[in-house]
């Protein structure tokens, strides 16, 4: 309901925010079971803009349409109505191949349940995006993947399969995979929802660090208010409408076990 206002750059890492928005959704609507008796609209005209270098939390109760909005932003689903632009490119009317290419170029994903490929080692999972794009993994890409994994404290885990890693480690591998090609925006759906508090803090801190180091924007869906409070901006979705969209004023003190951010 509340009108969306592009958030001005808010201190720290968002200092590099460029003038043209990274993504821009205008009056996005999404209905399921179109034309059937059980047709239901879950997004009722959502407009939002993300600038380069933002670190944003998307919160809201279950069923508020968070995941649907994230899927639309992630080009995994199409809005029923409205306009959606990624890096200035209008996506309405694009075919599957073009959406896929844009997704591969502009977006990284981190999901709640890690979604690593169990048949591939951690290192292989991280090099998959490069392999997918070019059919081979160059030495430079391999080095880059090792570097990202090492930066996440996963030197020992590179040759291991996901099944041999803890949940927190798996999620860090998933973040490494999302970051390895340095997409402008990483979408994270409950990235810590499945982890204990310690791992959860660790993973969150890691995302903040990557944001600071690589100027990669993050949009994080979460229902953990404490996590949301540590982002730079919070968008709250209620019943398919944006209820609140504001910068986080006071950064709460980091928990004592956090030394990474």
């Amino acid at each position: 309901m509340s009108p969306t206002t592009p958030t001005p750059a808010t201190g720290n890492a968002s200092a590099t925010a460029s003038v043209s928005p990274l993504i821009e959704g205008v009056d996005l609507r999404k209905s399921y079971n179109l034309g059937q008796p059980n047709e239901a609209e879950v997004l009722h005209g959502v407009s939002l803009t993300l600038a380069r270098g933002e670190f944003v939390a998307l919160i809201g109760p279950s069923g508020s349409g968070k995941s649907t909005l994230l899927n639309i932003i992630g080009l995994l689903e199409r809005a029923t109505a409205g306009h959606y632009r990624v890096q200035g490119q209008e996506t309405t009317g694009l075919g599957d191949a073009e959406l896929t290419a844009l997704r591969g170029r502009a977006l990284g994903f981190v999901f709640q349940f890690h979604h690593l490929l169990p048949a591939f080692t951690a290192l292989e999972n991280v090099t998959l995006p490069a392999l997918m794009r070019e059919g081979r993994v160059s030495a430079a890409q391999l080095a880059r993947a090792r570097e990202v994994l090492a930066a996440m404290g996963l030197e020992q885990a590179m040759a291991k399969r996901p099944g041999e890693l803890s949940g927190g480690m798996q999620q860090r591998v998933a973040i490494a995979r999302a970051l390895v090609l340095q997409p402008p925006l990483v979408l994270a759906d409950e990235p810590t929802g499945n982890l204990d508090t310690a791992s959860s803090n660790e993973v969150f801190a890691l995302m903040r660090r990557m944001h600071a180091e690589l100027q990669i924007s993050f949009l994080i869906v979460t229902h953990d208010p404490r996590l949301a409070a540590r982002c730079d901006r919070v968008i709250e979705l209620v019943d398919g409408r944006i209820e609140r969209d504001e910068p986080v004023r006071a950064q709460p003190a980091e928990p004592p076990d956090q030394g990474l951010a």
């Binding site: 169990p118 070019e134 081979r136």
Partner: protein, 425 residues
Amino acid sequence: MVAWLGFERRVAVRFLREGRMQSLLIIVGVAAGVAVVAYISALISGLQANTLEKTLGAQPHVSISPLEDTVLSARAELPAGTTVLQQTQPRAQRARSLGEWQSLVPLLEALPGVAAVSPMVTGAGLALRGQAQKSISVVGVDLDRYDRIVNLRRKVVAGTARLGPGEAVIGLELARDLGVRVGDRLSIVTGSGSGSESGSESGSEGSGITDSARVTALVDFGVRELNRRTVIVPLRAAQSLVGLPGGATNIDLTLRDVWAAPALSAQLAQRWPYKVESWQDTNASLVSALNAQSISTGLIRAVVMVVVVLGIASVLVVTVVQKRREIGILRAMGATQGQVLRVFLLQGAIVGALGSALGVLLAVGLIAAFTSFVRGSDGLPLFAITLTPGLALRIAAVATVCGVLAAVAPARRAAKLDPAQAIRM
């Protein structure tokens, strides 16, 4: 720039390796199918080659003989619509010579595809020795030419094939019946002394023509009836025995390709006023038996391949369901529908290729077992059965293509998966 299917290959192999038991079972299934197809193909082609060799070893591919005597109606032309009931006594067929056969032989030899031409004289007679007398078929040939038709020299079991004047080569069983060994003499009597143009139909002049010949070799044609009746003499001797001086009753041809015989026969029959028969005409039942055999093997092979395709398809359908999430995540990461499609097509191809490699090995084993365990009464293998590399490759290629075809439906399903939904599962 883009390494050929690098991503697809990697993912396809990993998916197969991940589904260990499932992949192993279907590869073994494909192998069993391929082994059956390869084994049956080799067996049937060996069997057919053996049958053909046995049949064609003792007979020409194409035989040219004079047209048969027919009775022509002398009735004047009748008005249209008149129904005529007539009964005609068929003519008795006398021995006649092919007209101008000497000039025909070089013409036939010059035809493409013709490997050998042998003019000959055949007739019926009796072989006598002491008290024994046997009805025989007298075959007059030029040995070198005839040898190229039936490989006579290779069939000699005793003596040396030689057909000088007064010499003969006879069938193995006939020699036994008459008690003749190589070097012995026998008498040949024919009843056609009356001459070819006399019009006498009974041949009962009583006096027949007698000749005597020394046996130089005994041959085994591989067919008992031939072994029991055949006496091969020089062409000239046969001409006088049959009463056709300077004549030839038929000309036999051997072709390079046995299957070209019907076409060539038709062509020859159109060109010259002779009766031309291919080996397929004279062995119609054999040809139809071979055809029936080929059709039923084809059917078996087709059914086995269909089973293989269904097996691969069903396993891949299950794999697609199992891998929904992973497909979704790959799509979210930027894998195109085409890439996902190819990952599954490739899995079908890999299963088909591995299965056929294993299947060919299995077939080689089966064939080795057949050759060493199944023996004829003489203790020798029944016939040569080999899986040629060409055949093995063809079968493997077909099985691999079948694998890809089997993967089409599951692969399309995988490619069409909605990534958002697949991830949520």
